[in-house]
């Protein structure tokens, strides 16, 4: 079974090479999609196999798949299928750089897979940094001043943030000197957490969380996120928002498990609550007056990351299981939304919310899913985001974060109002030119039906998974146990 772990790490590299060689062929864009599909398959297989047979270890202990890693692989695969398949551009919008674009996407997938299966702080760090490197040109690929500025900020802030995380990981590992030979392994650190040097562990965990929070887009170190997400092509925004943020958050969860075991939960709880509430506040402050619909979605990602941080701060099986399920739900919906935003951009030619009106009548194929997706982002039932958000808030109340959760609910209401107002204006808002809606001919880039399939699947899965989550309960609880169980 352990050999299976290598598939999502190596296959994308091969496909990347193929797409570089055959760069002029349009079908190379399907290579990342197939890599993502394989990743999803491997993820599901590993979830099943780990839940019956326990963690798999390979490469001399550098790589280890426990229930949490297997779950993350599944999330990465599922979201990547949606973002990549949905994001395949229409025939008329393709350009000459398809090959390098496809190969960077493949490498990005491989780097994310490595980040979640590495059982070595250093190797995981290398993988997270590789995700920045592979996406740098993807963010800037549209060209122009805005894209360059976004790419510069993204690479500088991302690298500096992750460098700080590296410093934190080194200190965390140095803290294990008191237990013998210093170790870089998650498992060993968690097992010996009781014997870690408390001062070094405290400094290390705080720096590591600060660093990975930069990559996860948590306030106050989120400033690259709206720029990068608004400038990157739709597929890339979808992938970054849907899974890259979650992969960075996965690192925070691992660090938190060690810090909680070594120092008690107060340090991480304080840091994560502050970051979570601040993220919600930043979003609440900026969504109402937002003029750009891709930035609107980007701020919504900051909000959802804030929710994840609050869930992690609450801790315990309910909250952590909800956090992990929320990663899947938010990832699927957000990647669909970015894909749709990309198509809307192709239709209107403008990022402005004000330029998009009456979408539900003019382009029901875009407006319908956009409205449904926004409902899912806002946490309407039956979407799974409703259940996970409620679970996170209930768990927070249960575990003594009462006023923090009240404040979070108030901020969520503001965010709700802001996003709903803008999305309604785009989809059903008064049409400045109602006749144009009826008389305009079918637009030339009307997407083929199969491009709608991934969006439909993503929204459908998000809608039913909240009710049909019983097969997921066991793997999610296993993943919670991998993080040191219920504390």
């Amino acid at each position: 079974m352990a050999i299976l772990i290598w598939v999502p790490l190596v296959l994308p590299l091969l496909l990347a090479a193929v797409s570089i060689v055959l760069r002029s062929r349009a079908w190379t864009l399907w290579l990342p999609v197939s890599a993502a599909a394989v990743l999803l398959g491997v993820g599901v297989t590993l979830v099943v196999s780990v839940s019956s047979g326990g963690p798999l270890v390979t490469a001399g202990g550098l790589i280890r798949v426990d229930a949490l890693s297997a779950w993350m692989l599944t999330v990465v695969g599922a979201v990547a299928v949606v973002a990549l398949w949905g994001g395949i551009p229409h025939r008329t919008h393709r350009n000459r750089n398809i090959g390098s674009f496809a190969s960077l996407l493949c490498l990005f997938l491989s780097a994310m897979s490595l980040a979640v299966v590495a059982d070595n702080l250093g190797l995981m760090w290398v993988a997270v940094e590789l995700t920045t490197i592979t996406t740098a040109f993807l963010v800037g690929s549209r060209g122009g001043r805005g894209a360059l500025e976004a790419a510069w900020k993204y690479v500088v802030l991302g690298s500096v943030g992750v460098a700080i995380a590296f410093l934190g990981l080194i200190l965390l590992s140095a803290a294990s000197r008191t237990t013998g030979e210093p170790t870089l392994s998650w498992v060993a650190l968690l097992a010996h957490a009781g014997g870690l040097d408390p001062t070094l562990a405290r400094a290390g965990a705080a720096l590591a969380v600060l660093g990975f929070a930069t990559k996860a887009g948590l306030a106050p170190v989120h400033s690259w996120l709206p720029d990068a997400h608004s400038q990157a092509p739709a597929t890339v925004s979808g992938l970054m928002s849907g899974v890259l943020l979650s992969v960075a958050f996965y690192a925070i969860l691992r660090v938190q498990a060690i810090a909680d075991a070594a120092l008690g939960p107060e340090l991480m709880r304080g840091l994560l609550t502050a970051a979570g509430l601040l993220s919600l506040a930043v979003t609440a402050g900026l969504v109402i007056t937002q003029k750009d619909f891709k930035r609107l979605l980007a701020y919504s990602s900051i909000e959802h990351m804030g929710l994840l941080a609050l869930g992690a701060a609450a801790g315990g099986p309910l909250a952590i299981a909800a956090v992990l399920l929320h990663m899947l739900g938010h990832g699927l919906v957000k990647s669909s939304m970015f894909v749709l935003a990309g198509r809307i951009l192709g239709y209107t030619g403008s990022h402005d919310i004000a330029d998009v009106r009456n979408l539900l009548r003019r382009r029901p194929d875009l407006g319908g899913p956009f409205l449904l997706g926004a409902a899912a982002l806002l946490g309407f039932p039956p979407f799974v985001t409703f259940f996970t958000e409620v679970a996170i808030i209930v768990a927070g109340f249960q575990r003594g974060l009462g006023w923090q959760m009240l404040l979070a609910c108030a901020l969520l209401l503001v965010v709700f109002a802001g996003i709903a107002r803008n999305v309604l204006a785009m989809t059903v808002g008064a049409d400045p030119d109602p006749d144009a809606a009826r008389t305009s001919p079918a637009p030339p880039d009307l997407p083929a039906r199969f491009r709608q399939i991934p969006i439909g699947i993503a929204l459908g899965v998000t809608a039913v998974i909240g009710f049909a989550a019983w097969p997921l309960a066991a793997p999610l609880l296993d993943a919670v146990t991998a993080l040191g169980g219920a504390r």
Partner: protein
């Protein structure tokens, strides 16, 4: 290696690291900044070799050689090439004046020594006592990222920060596993190359590489 030689080599290399970091703070010549980075790379490689050989690790030669090639040859060469392509040899803008910059740098170095004390606790081995140098490099790198306006000096600041982290990891650990070391060095090299390409594109697009003038995107 006798303990005296070890002590002296350790003091020389860490002293050189700190000196090159502080000297970065004043002066506006980009060629000089890159030159200081070369010196810093050599000092870092020397430090790695010293610590590794004293601990009796044969792989120290490999790691030190790798660091020397990447940090003292390839990276500075790539940066110099970008600077030539852009045609910028002096930096014009800094957000604060030179005096404030120096006082800030001095304060940060003091701060590095102040915070390293409690973090290190009572580890008395010689290498650990030099860890404040690493923290100084990290903070000075940060300082440079914050106050300098030009893309290329921001990159210098980032590399200083990275050198600081490498220093800390070698002094507290005697180095990381070779795979991680290779991966980390390669990652940083790729970041430098990518930022170099972005800088050249920025120059072509807007005629300057002034980061404080990047105001296209905001709310």
């Amino acid at each position: 290696m006798s303990i005296q030689t070890y002590q002296q080599l350790l003091a020389t290399t860490t002293g050189l690291l700190l000196l090159t970091a502080v000297l970065q703070v004043w002066g506006r010549s980009i060629v000089r900044a890159i030159g200081l980075l070369v010196l810093q790379g050599i000092a870092l490689a020397g430090l790695v070799l010293t610590v590794g050989l004293y601990a009796g690790e044969d792989s120290a030669w490999v790691v030190a050689g790798l660091l020397l090639v990447v940090k003292a040859v390839i990276m500075p060469w790539a940066m110099l090439r970008s600077a030539r392509l852009i045609g910028v040899t002096r930096e014009h803008s800094s957000r604060v004046n030179a005096a404030v910059e120096l006082i800030g740098a001095a304060g940060l170095t003091l701060l590095a020594y102040a915070v390293s004390g409690p973090i290190l606790g009572n580890h008395s081995d010689l290498a650990a006592q030099a860890v404040p140098v690493g923290f100084s490099l990290v903070l000075l790198g940060f300082w440079q990222l914050l106050v300098r306006g030009s893309a290329i000096t921001q990159l210098v600041g980032f590399l200083m920060l990275d050198n600081g982290i490498a220093t800390i990891s070698f002094l507290t650990f005697g180095g990381l596993p070779l795979v991680v070391e290779l991966g980390a060095t390669l990652d940083v090299l790729l970041v430098v190359l990518i930022l170099g390409v972005l800088m050249v594109r920025m120059q072509a697009e807007q005629g300057h590489i002034d980061i404080s003038e990047l105001r296209e995107l905001r709310d």
